[in-house]
Symmetry: C2
Subunit: 349 residues, 2 copies
């Protein structure tokens, strides 16, 4: 018998709340096998009303009433203080209680990181969970981390990101042996700061079971040079936002160019289906995992529509049913030996 999987969902999160999340759950469940069920946390009346519009969900969803909701603008510290009993809090707590195998929320990212850390505790020795971005490129999608806020990362933290990111990429994209690169300002060994050079040595010589390809540069993220790109949370956050900003700017300029005159406008109308496909191509996948926790939490972007959120739920099911956690466990257990093998920086060899 296939083991059942329960997905714990914050039904109130995101810009649209239950009006998007509930239809998204219904849509995802239609494509997922019958052993997958959803636990929906939120205002019971609202969630029920939305569920009633979604056809027969009997046996596939369970509604858990939550009195309150965390605001999209609340600071993490505030969310921790008054978070208990909110839909987000309860969605994560169901994970710790063993009622669910994975949690998904489109709510406030900082609050989700803080609440998840408090409830589930960190397994890796990080300030905060590492946040993954999936960046589209010509051949597929690359996994880029940390784009969260682990601002100061020593070499060991960077190696942990590599281990977790590699396992996630395999689970999410079905690549048997994802390649891994370390973000730097040049591909030569002498470049970059000490933490990066030390992490490079551990990844290359530490005997970890990773397909490590060495240093990569900023433009490799969208080239698809490697599957997984590792960096500290400061650089990752800045680079990700810089790319998003560049994409938005280009898109706005393109739009104004294509409505600049009658010929351009007719041209744009003719090319409309292609332009929409183009927009789909450059949009990143809607879900990102928080890595390093004792439990699997996925963040869906706040502006997600029901198609996006359904994708996030299916991604959650895929990752939860993969060997993700045990693969990370295995490689993490090799880390102490890797650190000591790679330790003699000067002298040896």
């Amino acid at each position: 018998m296939t083991q059942s999987l329960v997905i714990s969902i914050d039904a109130m999160g995101g810009d649209h709340g239950p009006s998007v999340v509930v239809p998204a759950a219904a849509r995802a469940l239609k494509e997922l096998p019958p052993h997958v069920r959803c636990l929906l946390h939120g205002d019971e009346a609202q969630v029920k009303t939305e569920a009633a519009k979604c056809g027969d969900l009997a046996g596939r969803i369970e509604i858990r009433h939550a009195e309150r909701v965390i605001g999209m603008d609340e600071k993490p510290a505030q969310a921790l203080r008054r978070g208990k009993g909110t839909s987000m809090w309860n969605a994560v707590e169901a994970l710790r209680e063993g009622e669910a195998g994975v949690a998904v929320s489109a709510g406030n990212t900082g609050a989700l990181m803080a609440i998840s850390k408090l409830i589930l505790r960190m397994r890796a020795d990080l300030e905060r969970p590492a946040l993954v971005a999936s960046v589209p490129h010509a051949q597929g999608v690359s996994t880029f981390l940390d784009v969260g806020a682990n601002v100061d990362c020593d070499a060991e933290r960077l190696v942990e990101f590599a281990i977790m990111g590699e396992a996630y990429h395999r689970a999410a994209h079905g690549v048997a042996k994802p390649t891994v690169g370390l973000l730097n300002v040049g591909s030569e060994e002498m470049k970059g700061h000490e933490e990066v050079r030390e992490a490079h040595r551990i990844l290359r010589e530490g005997g970890l079971d990773l397909e490590y390809r060495g240093f990569v540069e900023g433009d490799d993220i969208t080239k698809g040079s490697v599957d997984v790109i590792v960096t500290d949370g400061f650089t990752g956050n800045v680079a990700l936002k810089a790319m998003e900003g560049a994409a938005k700017f280009m898109y706005a300029e393109l739009k104004s160019a294509l409505t600049a005159g009658p010929f351009s406008t007719v041209g744009a109308l003719l090319a409309r289906p292609s332009l929409l496909r183009f927009r789909d191509r450059i949009n990143p996948p809607p879900a990102a995992p928080l890595l390093g926790l004792n439990g699997l939490v996925l963040k869906c972007h706040g502006g997600a529509d029901d198609r996006d959120f359904a994708k996030a739920i299916r991604a959650a099911a895929d990752v939860a049913q993969s060997g993700f956690a045990s693969e990370i466990e295995q490689n993490m257990s090799r880390l102490p030996a890797a650190l000591s093998t790679a330790a003699p920086a000067d002298g040896a060899a």
Copy 2:
């Protein structure tokens, strides 16, 4: 009488050498006043042949023969060892000798930084000259530095970048009082690592004559939230390359979308003039200064055509004739006081 200005040019640099650089000089000189002249360093025969095709340049150019050229792939250390007597070396040396007011090269960036540093020496206490990127946004262009390779930057270095970047932005874009922001992962004061928070304090409280607006994030670079964005050379290099990569990826996807079928292709043909204007809009200005040297050196991108290189020469003339150097001098002289004013991190106030 107007003071004359001599622009010292590496005629062999870039992907195309004299066949682009010489016509570019001719094109730029046509638009520049008669007191501006160019010193062209390179293979005399080649440069003469190209100059002969460019009409009457009598009194506006002078050719200085250089035996050798620095290759685009040469490492900086190698360029230093065998650089003497190359067109790039001589172009920078003319600056030190007082024969020219500014030098321009489209050659190898690393070699140009190393040679400039050796010949001109640094005035700021940096590993290497700070490299500026000019990033287009909806309202104009932002000045982003350091995108070179000053990997480890303390707070004082970041403040120096702010001073130099602000003066450059005014000189290059004619903005009387450019606004300045410090790149961080969030706009709150507690975020970011120590160097960034300390630089923030100096910029806010140090009494420097700057229009400092506080922290900005990665997407502010293309939003035009501030004129000058300051960061360390590691983050800046990664962010710039990430943006360039994202833009290239989008452009490639757009191209393939617009040639995907007959309707799209016809549409793209109709919209072609707008699409070309779009491409021009998103292309950054071709010239970037190396900051922190005792002398003004501009790097033009290697793939520049003669229109681009002519723009770089005109930009060099603008900056050389501005109050750029003395403005930097003035604000730099306030830096020691700013550091001590801002010093009492804990305790005071």
